[in-house]
Every structure is written in C-alpha cells, then in structure tokens.
C-alpha cells in the first residue's frame, strides 16, 4: 500500500482485503487489496475485462465475493445486518455508467427518490434539495423533463445529482466520461473535484480515460486480469516501470505471451 502524501492519515473509509471473486468458474478478481482515506479520490483503471467493473459491483454490495473482506465506513459488508446495510447505503451515492435514471419519472422526481424513500422531510424541502443538486451539476431548470428528453451528458449529470442528493460520505462514479465530448467530460471532472473540496467526500471513480484519471486522482489503482498491478499517486503511475501499465498509458496493444503448442491446439480445437 502506498500511503498518501499527508500523514497522519485521515480515517479509512474503504478497506478491501484479499478480495477474490468468480464469475461461474472463471476467476475475475484475485487477491485485491484496496484502501481509501476520507476525502481522497481514487481512480480505478484498467482495460475491458480487467475486473474494474466487477470490483465496483462488489464495493457496492451488488455481488458477493468468493473470499475476502470489504469494509465500507466501518461496516463489514459480509456481516452487516439489513439495518446496518441500510444505514451504509444512505451514506453512499452511486452514479452508474448509463445514468440508470428511472424513465417513468421526471428529472426532479429521479433526484428526489432517495429522499422520498429514506427521509420524512417536508415535500418542499425535498424539492428545494433536488433543485439545488441539479444546480450544482448545472442542470438547473431541467427538473420537469423526462430522462428520454436528455442528452447523454445531461443524463450523467442528473445521475450525479441523484447520487449526491443525500450528501453521501462516499461517492462512486462509473465511467464518468464514457461517450461524452471532451468539454462535458472536463466539466464533470471539475465537478468531482469540487464535491471533494466542499463536502469532503471520498470518491471512487472507475474509468479507462487517462486524461480524466490524471486530472482528478489522488491515487490510481491499475487492474489487469483481476489483479492489482500497482496502486500509486499520479506521478508514480506515470513513471511506473511496469510494462503493462506503460502499455496502457501509451495505448499499445498488449503483448500476449505465446505458447506455440497451446496456440496450435486452440486453433485446431484439439485441446
């Protein structure tokens, strides 16, 4: 583990120990260790199939690991009871890759949903909170539109507004810049930095966009084939002597080790 620059450390908000996960018989995560400190932004990077989406699903408690421990905000996900999980969920916000907005609800109703379900605030307070968060993501005045009327970048921003409406301590952001034009994705990067600064949120961003990762990350964790290649600051990752990381940074196709016999067997289908 690579400690962040400042010490003593702020409290740990995510502690992942020796996480192993399978998809069917296939091992997709293998011995993952991860630690996130309060107020830190960590970017999880890796190509497709590296296991970064699977790691996120485990952090969110959507999948159960084969082995290992995941502790979020002091709650051990495997041991937590229903009530504890519920309390934990109120303290975390998630912005999904495609936004995952509810199509039958307006933008405002989408953002208000967590408040409706978890608080007994006055209707007007909830409406103001939702509009405030929409202002934060520069979507003010769009509250009566339906998700189908929004562009991709707008959907992502509304999803972010919904993720932060409860003022979570932990924010997860899946592929913030995927499919967005550079200006919009730069805006989202700024927004992530501002949320950390003002709300002192701890943020995990899963992305394969290098520019965005280098801009927002305190530390970067690089995954490859279900393993952590390296976790380090932006500088450490930039100057890593790990070959796969350099491949990733320079967008080189990966060099596969080849076993001639095995390759032949694969081509002829006689294994």
């Amino acid at each position: 583990m690579n400690p962040a620059a400042a010490s003593p450390h702020p409290p740990v908000v995510i502690e992942v120990t020796d996480l192993v996960a399978h998809y069917g018989a296939h091992r997709v995560l293998d011995g993952i260790h991860m630690r996130l400190y309060r107020g830190e932004i960590m970017v999880v990077m890796g190509g497709s199939g590296s296991g970064k989406s699977t790691l996120l699903r485990h952090l969110l408690g959507l999948n159960r690991p084969t082995a290992g421990r995941i502790v979020l905000l002091g709650t051990d996900m495997a041991r937590a009871g229903a009530r504890e999980m519920q309390d934990l969920r109120k303290n975390m916000g998630v912005s999904f890759q495609g936004g995952a907005l509810f199509n039958s609800m307006t933008v405002a109703e989408n953002v208000m949903l967590p408040l409706r379900e978890h608080t007994s605030l006055d209707e007007r307070t909830m409406a103001i909170m939702a509009r405030m968060k929409l202002e934060v993501v520069n979507m003010g005045g769009f509250d009566h539109l339906m998700p189908s009327q929004l562009s991709g970048g707008m959907v992502k921003r509304v999803a972010l507004a919904r993720a932060i409406v409860m003022d979570p301590k932990l924010l997860f952001f899946d592929e913030p810049s995927a499919g967005l034009d550079p200006v919009v994705s730069a805006e989202l990067d700024e927004l992530i930095l501002r949320l950390r600064k003002v709300m002192n949120m701890s943020i995990v961003v899963v992305t394969h966009e290098l520019d965005s990762a280098f801009k927002i990350a305190d530390r970067i964790m690089v995954l490859d084939e279900g393993r952590v290649l390296q976790t380090g600051t932006v500088e450490e990752i930039r100057h890593s002597d790990n070959e796969r990381i350099q491949d990733l940074l320079e967008r080189r196709p990966r060099t596969l080790e080849m076993d001639a016999d095995e390759y032949l067997a694969r081509l002829t289908g006689k294994g």
Partner: protein
C-alpha cells in the same frame, strides 16, 4: 444540534449550533417559518454550526423565499468557511443577505 430563538432589537434571532442534518433540519425549518409567520424579521446565527447538509440549506432557502414574499428581512449571520463552502456549491452565497456579526445587523436596522 441546538436551535434557539430569541428576540433582539426587532429581530427574531435563530441561533443554530452543532450539526444541521436530515434529522435536525425539520426543527430549524419550523422555527424559521414560525417566526416569519408571526411577522418578525429573522436573523440566523450560524457561527457555531459545525456542519450543515443540503436539507439544512434547503430550509434556509425556503425561509428566505417566504421572508421575501412577506417583505421581511432575512439574514445569515457569521457563516463559517465550511458553511459558506456548502452555500457556494449551489451558488447560494450570492443569493442570501449575509452579515458578519449580529451587531452589524442590528446597527444597520437602526
């Protein structure tokens, strides 16, 4: 959290202390709206607020809007840097009338 209302000069001074969050903001909202209902100008002392979440800010927003529609003054007093940060996030720092101290406010009022 603590939420006390007292009379000072013409103002109803609502003093908040500690953490204003989802569980405590409804009380703040009640206090503010009650004072405005009674026709009093309102000052909110935020000097000892350690944390305010969006439900707290939303209550302030609703209070200010209500005050405006009734033509009553509504001022935030002594907002700390962290409170200002939360207000700035939604660009509300440019919306609310702000005062550094209560003295400043009551002197202005005459």
């Amino acid at each position: 959290m603590q939420c006390d209302v007292r009379k000072e000069a013409a103002f109803d001074v609502v003093t908040l202390k500690g953490e204003v969050d989802l569980s405590t903001s409804p009380a703040v909202r009640q206090a503010i709206l009650a004072s405005l209902e009674a026709g009093a100008p309102v000052a909110i002392e935020l000097g000892e607020v350690t944390y305010i979440d969006s439900s707290g800010v939303a209550s302030l927003v609703e209070g200010y809007q209500t005050a405006k529609s009734r033509g009553l003054p509504f001022t935030l007093v002594g907002a700390s840097e962290s409170v200002m940060g939360v207000l700035e996030l939604a660009r509300l720092d440019k919306v609310f009338p702000l005062a550094a101290t209560l003295g400043e406010l009551t002197a202005d009022g005459g």
